[in-house]
Symmetry: C2
Subunit: 274 residues, 2 copies
């Protein structure tokens, strides 16, 4: 949130008025935290910035599987999220022949099958996830009259992400019969490419220090996404166990964290000397 | 329930102790209803019975679509219900490549695709329904770690129903990887074939009265299912609008209901004269 406001991607008022589950706004929480801190002199935000480098656990399993210590992050993949709503007709599971059904579940099944095929790339770069899927009325002997589901679609290249997103709309319309299908795009975050000169500095630093590294695209979003609009930006990843993050079992090896910090220090020192 | 107890398929104690949503047992409800009725002499249950004939709306769209007034019911199709539980692993939708996922949703999708194909008969006789389908944790950007769904499978012929039910277990095991799949059979109600001599009597009576008729299998269960164990049994169907039943919009044309009652009366009079 801080980086988005700093880069002007989100207005300050919008960020301060965001509410958590208990209804507390970010502004209220910030004021209450600041009141508990010892007084400190205020200083202006560091803008314009010369460069921005962020070190992070990968939050994925790629480095761990490859046995590499440093991820040279080339950018952040783009993300499109869709909400799909399918309206059919409830019917008795025993008495209604297939040809007479408007089965919202089977229509959803066909659409998702088409999208699974569309997003099946040999390089395993496309991320396609159906994370929420709800069926109504949800009774074993009733043909579902309504289904709601989400599609989460990610790719590092804007053109591919555009093509795949177009495929979501096309599949929903092509396979709608005998139901009616409504698709809404909930989120469209374009891919970010980091500054190649910063990426090269990180790769060179890791090489000089003898750390095994791997070029990687960030699957998750980071502050660097917004900072990349303001200045030269790059990221350094280290492995984390099982790719798990945002969870109590998140864990990274101390020697990997130290390696990431050493690369970060080296690159920042280099950039500061420019 | 009454016919199941009468035919000995369910013990009386079990039926009387069944509870509704408010927690009232059938026994309590019956006693409270009987207390409000004028006293009447009790009489023994009419067993042994010579024959049992049941008239009913079709609860399906077949007669209405075919434009026939009387359904000559040859029997009640069998029903098997299954509960399928798929355990995978929650993962970040952005950072986890397909090859590293144990996506419970996509495993469910593959299993259901195989079953939709297995149950696709040209005659449209098989009934295959996924009515309940729940995904956990149900967040758009989390690969689902668990899915629970039901399969409702019906067919008039016991052998076919056995084969298709076997196919459910086979598909769940064949396509389980990389998740683990647990299948339980929740319900197995065998098909019932009515007495052919009673079915012929109903067909002849409808013919003599000039009602357009159609041979049909009951998709829903009826009292006749249990009575068929005790005596010669048959059923007469009439059309209902849109195949809708157990719903406030259930409706049947008065002339269709009258036609059904006339056939019922004719057949019962015939049988009583035997």
């Amino acid at each position: 949130m801080g980086s988005a406001v700093h880069a002007g991607a989100i207005p300050l008022e919008e960020a301060l008025s965001a509410r958590d589950r208990d209804g507390t706004t970010a502004g209220e929480a910030l004021r209450s935290m600041l009141a508990q801190l010892p007084k400190a002199g205020s200083r202006p935000l560091g803008s314009p910035a010369h460069a921005y480098i962020e070190a992070h656990i990968e939050q994925g399993p790629v480095l761990e599987t490859a046995g590499r210590r440093i991820g040279i992050v080339s950018g952040i993949q783009g993300l499109r999220q869709f909400g799909v709503s399918i309206a059919g007709e409830e019917a008795h599971a025993g008495t209604t022949p297939r040809a007479r059904r408007r089965d919202a579940f089977m229509t959803a099944h066909t659409i998702i099958g088409a999208l699974a095929q569309l997003t099946m790339d040999r390089a395993d770069t496309v991320r396609f996830t159906v994370g929420r899927f709800e069926v109504f009325p949800g009774s074993p002997n009733t043909v579902p009259g309504r289904v709601e589901f989400t599609i989460d679609l990610r790719h590092p290249h804007a053109g591919t992400l555009n093509r795949l997103g177009g495929g979501v709309f096309a599949a929903c319309h092509r396979h709608a019969e005998p139901c009616t299908v409504d698709v809404r795009e909930l989120l469209h975050s374009k891919p970010v490419l980091f500054d190649p000169t910063v990426v090269t500095r990180i790769r060179d630093a890791a090489g000089r220090m003898g750390f095994a590294s791997l070029d990687i695209v960030s699957g998750a979003t980071h502050d660097a996404k917004y900072m990349a609009d303001l200045c030269s930006t790059g990221m350094i990843f280290v492995p984390c166990r099982g790719g798990i993050s945002h969870n109590e079992s998140e864990w990274a090896a101390p020697e990997d964290l130290a390696a990431g910090a050493e690369v970060l220090s080296e690159v920042v020192t280099d950039l500061a000397a420019e």
